[in-house]
Symmetry: C2
Amino acid sequence: MPDYEIYSLGDFVLQRGATLRDAKLAYKTFGKLNAKKDNVIVFPTWYSGQHVDNEWLIGKGMTLDPAKYFIIIPNMFGNGLSSSPSNTPEPYNKSRFPQVTAYDNVRAQHQLVTEKFGVKKLKLVVGWSMGALQTFHWGAMYPDMVERIAPFCGSAKCSRHNFVFLEGVKAALTADSAWNNGWYDDKPEKGLRAMARVYAGWGFSQAFYRQELDLKALGHSSLEDFLVSFWEGFFLPKDANNLLTMLWTWQNGDISDNELYKGDFKKALKAVKAKAFVMPSRTDLYFPPEDSEFEVANMPNAKFLPFESVWGHFAGGPGTSPNDVKFLDGKLKELLAS
Amino acid sequence: MPDYEIYSLGDFVLQRGATLRDAKLAYKTFGKLNAKKDNVIVFPTWYSGQHVDNEWLIGKGMTLDPAKYFIIIPNMFGNGLSSSPSNTPEPYNKSRFPQVTAYDNVRAQHQLVTEKFGVKKLKLVVGWSMGALQTFHWGAMYPDMVERIAPFCGSAKCSRHNFVFLEGVKAALTADSAWNNGWYDDKPEKGLRAMARVYAGWGFSQAFYRQELDLKALGHSSLEDFLVSFWEGFFLPKDANNLLTMLWTWQNGDISDNELYKGDFKKALKAVKAKAFVMPSRTDLYFPPEDSEFEVANMPNAKFLPFESVWGHFAGGPGTSPNDVKFLDGKLKELLAS
């Protein structure tokens, strides 16, 4: 019994030209949609994460309380549950899975929210990392529908440095000849492990490692144990083509790269009417706070509220850092009360 | 005609147990040793660099003026000129080349300086990156011999985060099955290119990429052109086993990991009598200034003098950033005058 539902999007025409026939959007909901349909929160997933990986922020006693809100977690295309290289039938399977943008993802989510649930307003869109990318997209694509956004540890556009970081991740995965341009039968294990090791230096900050939080906070027995158990263990179960699909989505993320804004990034930022709490981590190595400051400066109704944390990108991570979760939960409460 | 000389070290017993028989130290000198032998500067090489890659800091009108100083550039073991996997005869060739520490490198350099040139005092030891690691070693291993040190964009001990960054570089290179555990005939081209792409995100800062200095200052035609031409072009000509040898040296760099200090890092720092200008780059992603501050705080005669630069690790790079070269050259002048 899966713990999620599937919404059939029909033949979904993607921004870059392909059609995902009988496209699937996997999602999970929490709480009940009220009669006025005004208690809806959308919480998109992050790179390689699935809905279950968002649940740490939801619960009784948390701001995202299902007793109060109707919370929808839509799974990103390529994450193995929504349409992905790993679950799409021929001929668009595996390495032929088409290029999907964040714009495509959010259009699909909009279809779910409006057609399936008849919802016209969103109280909040919130997301971590690539979830933040989708959150920004919601704000820019549907400015009259989205009342609040809380993108954390992410950006509205993939920066050039972030792009390069991802080039390294991709190059490590695809250097393994077992990858075979995506036509593998057995998974490219060396490539997945290499990708994990590349990611390890980026995910947490220099100070995190200096303070040995991999041992003292996360309980690993050695640095190598952290690299094998946490990092390799994280990526090994995932499908390489899925990972590459989402990586492409990430690298090409840009709220202005569509017919609405035609590449005018500042115009797209200005169009976001939602009240926005933009929350980078002070020590995030691939979403540095400077990029968030630029975004906030160009949005009409936004606040810059960084995590003062040494946890790097994982300040906003999947519930990994208790103090940062507390900070985030408090800011979400403040935002929803406003 | 090579532009360098070879010093035969004889049978050189390494710290980790192997003996490099008929070990070679390649070096180049600039200027003349004066009668008092008190005008000597040692300038070790960096990761994968060779003596020619240090010459940007030497010349008429520069602080390191051959008219005034006798400058010795010793090549690091593993860099392809001194004893390396690529030039050592069987049986210690290729993948069997032994583990060499920075301590071993500096002992070999000390042998050259004292036996070949009869030098008893060094006016200055200076180096970038792994050259800084060797510079710190000089200060800690020969405190009565070294009057000044100027390690820039480097550290006295490989930090845990820096170690993880290098794990990613190594994993990318060795994910290529053409690497074949070091027993390749043809070079592992995919691995070398992957390693280069991983390195690209680390070498320069987020701000460097944000300001498009790869295009505007370094003259590349696109970001991809920078990745291929600058980064892949840099690593492709190098031997994979050589790169892995130096990477091991780097990961295991620690001025206290020897019989003098028995792992007591603070004790080793305290022992450095030399007047030290420790110069990290403010935006260096793998040698962050915080590590230098710790070193300076524990050295008796050291100053913390960061490059206020967006060039990341390449602030101290091979002459790449003119303003930073100017800053460095000025500080070296100040240090030598004191």
